[in-house]
Amino acid sequence: MTNAALPIKAPGAPVARPVRRFGLAWLGMVPFLLFAFLFLVAPTVFLVGGSLQNAKGTFTLENFANLFTPQIMQTYENSLEISIVTAVIGGIFGLLLAYAVISGGLPGILRSALMTFSGVASNFAGVPLAFAFIYTIGRAGLFTVFLKSVGIDLYNSNGFSIYSKIGLEVVYLYFQFPLMVLIIAPAIDGLKKDWREAAENMGASSFQYWRRIALPILMPSLLGTMILLFGNAFGAQATAYALTGGFIDIVTIAISRQMRGDVLFNPNQGYALAMGMVIIMAISIAGYSLLQRRSERWLK
């Protein structure tokens, strides 16, 4: 398709002037740009436009103002909470796990095993993940039953439910910390052994090494990746939908309800709901790329 679109055909190219005959060669980029416009930019512009109109098609900021009702704010708060909690916990645990296999003195084979597994698990979101957790820590799940047999009733004493916010967080962590492992591993590789040895020779304890050297160097990548994890959880819909059957109050599910036609408010309100989400995602991705650039200074 694209090759056919490339207009330049050189019959017997003269050796003397090789890289000049392509005034029209940039046409090779047109399919991509056209595609991106049609199926990525246009739909987004449509949502932006719709969110700034009322039902009659006149310009208004009302839809955005209406986002600040208690009900919608609660929806956003739930999404933010789940995303922040899983980003921080997933980030810290992912860092520890990555460090364990890279510099923790564990057998080298565990490292490649963990990396492959992280590739799988970070992509294992959605329906099968939700079910896997229902079979495991659902009301009649394997682990729930096991805990009951040793005297711990997960569901009665603690008010735990896999269909609740905490449940969703436990499930989200399954793809959150593998993503952390994948992204932070190169940064940990960048921590030079000399730095640790130098610190130890000067009498630094393990804690001091972490506090004064490793963490400050890792901090930009650590924060950046956590922001990425935040966005990852914030935009997730399938897992929550499959887990709760669409009965949990988070933004992606609210948008799904809007699409399904369980109309709680008008469509323009729905577009504003979506735009609010895009804005939060945009801020987080911008923060990520900013921190990513900073971390490249040390880690090469």
Partner: protein, 299 residues
């Protein structure tokens, strides 16, 4: 009396200090012992972390396996899915969608990444920005926008027919593949000397189509394959877009099959995991072989 004493004490002190904390040989041995002990404690700590991660990784998989094997007779959930026409057709549908996605994605991204590297490096931030947009616009919003933009009232009413929706679905998947595919291709292009390859091909009389198809593409084989497998894994597991476009894809099927066949659903969840796993292993294998291949092509 006072004379020999300092000498004696001196030697005594020296003798005592010899192995003590200020002696030259003692410092490393002492701190080495301490750090060896702390390293030993550290290793136990890291093993513990690994164990927790391992359990958290595998318990849900084991739970799923355990549940799927509860069907009677033993293993019948797995034999049932093979004869389940819904499974075969939905997985087939998703695979076809995935392969179309990969082909289109490669066809539009390779020339773009090639031109950006060769001629328009100043466009790079812009193109990269576009390829990262799918991270900002999650699937649920993308499908929301697409269905409203191309509904029955629009100039291009793709949302009105099954064929149109199939087109729209693959288009959305191509968009989802942008970040992965562009990165894979761009990394691949960095590893080969496209300037020289292009000039050499041109001086031999090759046109642009030929250069891309016969010179650049074969050299990108490994990066394209890893981008392709990743895209395939994403498409086969994708739920949100397929559901809202009412397409008969694998993940939506997996979501509803449990109402009537709970054990099959567990078996299917494991199959789905296996597909992702296979894709990732293939990527790893390709990545491992890639270095030698690139060396060979560079001569």
């Amino acid at each position: 009396m006072g004379r020999p004493n300092p000498a004696i004490t001196g030697t005594a002190i020296e003798g005592e200090l010899g192995p003590g904390p200020h002696g030259p040989g003692a410092v490393p041995s002492n701190s080495a012992r301490r750090s060896r002990r702390s390293r030993y404690a550290g290793r136990i700590f890291w093993w513990l972390i690994f164990l927790i991660g391992f359990l958290y990784f595998f318990l849900p998989l084991y739970g799923t396996l355990d549940f799927s094997l509860k069907s009677k007779p033993f293993g019948s959930a797995y034999t049932a899915i093979l004869s389940d026409s819904g499974f075969v057709s939905s997985l087939g549908y998703s695979f076809v969608a995935g392969i179309l996605t990969i082909i289109i994605s490669i066809l539009i991204i390779v020339p773009t990444a090639f031109w950006v590297r060769l001629k328009y490096p100043q466009l790079r931030p812009f193109i990269e920005f576009i390829t990262l947009l799918p991270f900002v616009i999650p699937p649920v919003i993308l499908v929301y926008g697409l269905l409203n933009t191309y509904n029955g009232k629009s100039l291009l009413p793709l949302g009105d027919s099954d064929t149109g929706l199939n087109v729209l679905l693959v288009a959305a998947y191509v968009v989802l593949s942008f970040p992965y595919m562009y990165r894979a291709v761009d990394t691949g292009l960095r590893a080969i000397d496209i300037q020289s390859l292009t000039e050499a091909s041109q001086s031999l009389g090759a046109g642009w189509g030929r250069i891309l198809w016969q010179v650049i593409l074969p050299n990108l084989r490994t990066s394209l394959l890893s981008g392709a497998f990743l895209s395939l894994a994403i498409v086969v597991g994708e739920f949100t877009i397929a559901t809202f476009m009412s397409r008969p894809a694998f993940a939506p099927y997996l979501n509803i099959v449990g109402d009537s066949k709970p054990y099959e659903q567990a078996a299917l969840a494991l199959v789905s995991f296996g597909i992702t796993w296979l894709a990732m292993i293939l990527i790893a294998v390709i990545g491992r072989n890639s270095r030698s291949q690139i060396k060979v092509t560079l001569g």
